[in-house]
Symmetry: C2
Subunit: 144 residues, 2 copies
């Protein structure tokens, strides 16, 4: 991969693959006081996503619980490796430019969490599965 | 674990276990434009820690590269499981109170990254190895 001229801005969330997001969010709430910021199902992707935040709330890095809702690669990964950290997601202003800069022709852009355009990079970096998410395509903030 | 009355504030960093933090940080810089915010060795813990940040810089969640500098459990983990996400660290105002609330008598408090008091919880949550770090014991910000 070549040098990215459009660098990422910050970490948006850490994705944690779990078999049951309700049970896991209850555990995180009981142990750490985390609360649910958002809870959504992406039918096309086949996942339920539950975003957990600490007392400082939204605007920092979320913990994103990823629960597969049907058989597929994610459920297979869960069955093989068990629950735990799955990916780290960084924000970018322009996902298409980021992929051009990375010369990553294998990454597939999809409509990810919170309505934003997203993709997973084809190659892990430092053993980390990296997701990019385009903040400009986010849904309007709630309450606006 | 019982309910925490002292909840955590936010995610401080995601720890990524790597065999060579210099090589990994170069890869993250080349691919994502991440830059090194801090680079330190904790002799007592036996690790080199390199903190990487995106364009929005410090104040959000860091990517923390963890390089074991001698043989021990971390290097053994690396040899067995390979590089990749290792833990998620949350900030707390009072680490002793958090451990009391959690009734976690097995967690050992140590001097962790950036001079802060830290501990790893004895039990994983949702498959995640959780670190707590006490922000009030941080070193003064550089430049002050």
């Amino acid at each position: 991969m070549s040098r990215a001229s459009v660098g990422v801005n910050r970490i948006d969330h850490v994705g944690v693959l779990v078999p049951d997001a309700s049970a896991a969010s209850a555990q995180f709430e009981a142990a750490l006081g985390l609360t649910i910021d958002e809870d959504e199902v992406l039918e096309d992707v086949g996942v339920r996503l539950v975003y957990l935040v600490g007392q400082e709330g939204h605007g920092y890095c979320d913990l994103q619980l990823v629960e597969p809702i049907r058989d597929g690669p994610l459920r297979a990964h869960l069955n093989e490796h068990g629950q735990g950290p799955h990916h780290v997601c960084f924000t970018t202003d322009d996902i298409d430019q980021s992929l051009l800069d990375l010369d990553d022709t294998g990454a597939k852009v999809f409509r990810g969490g919170k309505g934003r355009r997203a993709c997973f990079l084809s190659e892990r970096i430092g053993g980390v599965l990296v997701e990019l998410i385009e903040t400009s395509t986010a849904k309007p903030a709630r309450g606006l």
